[in-house]
Structure formats: C-alpha cells, structure tokens
Symmetry: none
Subunit: 126 residues, 2 copies
C-alpha cells in the first residue's frame, strides 16, 4: 500500500457514499435511531455485510453509535456531509456564476429550512 490510506477525510466520505447500499442505510437511519439487527432486516444481504457497511460509515463520520444493552443503535450524522458540501460549494463558486444564479432561487428556501433544522438536531449530540 503506497501510504495513500486516509489522506483527506473527504476521501473516506466519498468512498463510503459511493456504495448504493450504504446510501440506503444512511437514509434509513436518517429519520430514526435503529439497531444493527433492524437495519440488517431491511435488506436482503447477510447481517455480516450490513455490519461491515456500518463500520465503514462510522469510520467516515457519517454515523453515530450508541449502546443499549446488547444492542447498538445507529443514527445518521449530518455533520459528516459538511465536507462534501464544502467541496461542492467550492467548485461551484470558482467554476460557475451562471448555473449558480439559476439554482440559487430554487434552493434558497429549502436550504434555509434545512440549515435551521440542522442546528436543532446537532444540538442533541453535544
């Protein structure tokens, strides 16, 4: 291995999100906090595979783990997506003013609402 393991944290995030199943898992625990077994039951792969996916997502900072007895409850961690968002914004800013102007009005209301809700939610983790 040429020592290119985990240079940028964005790299690990992108690699985790590249897998469709992992995106599905992330969407599943975005609304509720679910146990590993419950998440595994939602898919048609082995529980082992889901456990490995959960490990990858957790290492990427996209998941938060909480133990309750023998169970482990997982929840999506929106902060992990912040860097990806920065990557997109950064390229947009330098690349385009035209397309940005086109979608700005469209996403303004939605972004504002999401940002406000994000503040409410991230407050719970501290």
């Amino acid at each position: 291995m040429p020592a290119a393991a985990a240079g940028e944290p964005l790299d690990e995030t992108m690699r985790a999100l590249a897998e469709p199943r992992r995106r599905a898992i992330l969407r599943l625990v975005a609304t509720d906090e679910l146990a590993a077994g419950e998440i595994a039951a939602a898919f048609e792969v082995t529980r082992t595979a889901v456990s490995q996916h959960l490990t990858v997502l957790k290492n990427a900072g996209l998941l938060s783990e909480r133990r309750e007895g023998t169970r482990r409850l997982y929840r999506a961690r929106p902060e992990g997506l912040a860097e990806l968002r920065e990557f997109l914004d950064g390229m947009w800013a330098s690349a385009l003013d035209d397309a940005r102007r086109l979608v700005e009005a469209d996403r303004a209301a939605r972004a504002a609402r999401a940002a406000r809700a994000a503040e409410d939610r991230s407050e719970e983790d501290r």
Copy 2:
C-alpha cells in the same frame, strides 16, 4: 455489458466522484477548458489512465467535450453535481422533517431553547 451498468444516474455520479484523481481532474477543468493532453500532464499517471478517467466523468455527465482540430477540450459540467446536491438536500430535509414530527412533543421545548442559544452564538456562516 450485462445491462446492470447505470441504474440510477446518481449512482454513476457518486462512483465517478469516489475516485480522488477524478475529483482532481474535475477541479482542474472547473476554471478553464483544458485539452486531454494538458490534463494528463498535470498528473504522474499514464495518459491512458487519464483518458479513461475522462470517459468515466463524461459518462456521469460531469464533463462536457468539445473538439478543436485533433484536440479535445474538456470542461466541468455543474449540472451533474446538481443531482448530488439534490440528494444531500433531500436527505437532510426529509430526515429532519420526519425526526421532528416523531419526537416533536417530547423534546420540542428543550430543543428549541438549546437551538435558539446555538443560533445566537454561531449566527450565519452559510
């Protein structure tokens, strides 16, 4: 080709962006329109590898190609990133919306108070 290539367009986008080199290429052609040779010269891999990366990016809708004589000029295509942005925003919105609806009565007052304090502190950095 077993026809399992492109299920969702988002899937192809994410898979293209998962590769660090492809993100670097995308950033390189975000500001200027560059030829394939110029792009290849910026990296220490073979020109062939870069050409394959360009093909992947083009198929994902992240790149636009324009021919000028024997040269092929590439430029980033922000519309391809718009879908990814919609995915992120969509997950945030639905997730936070559902979560708030589920636990609204239980933690509304506490979360609101905490969030208000957080908003006063961090203000607007978006």
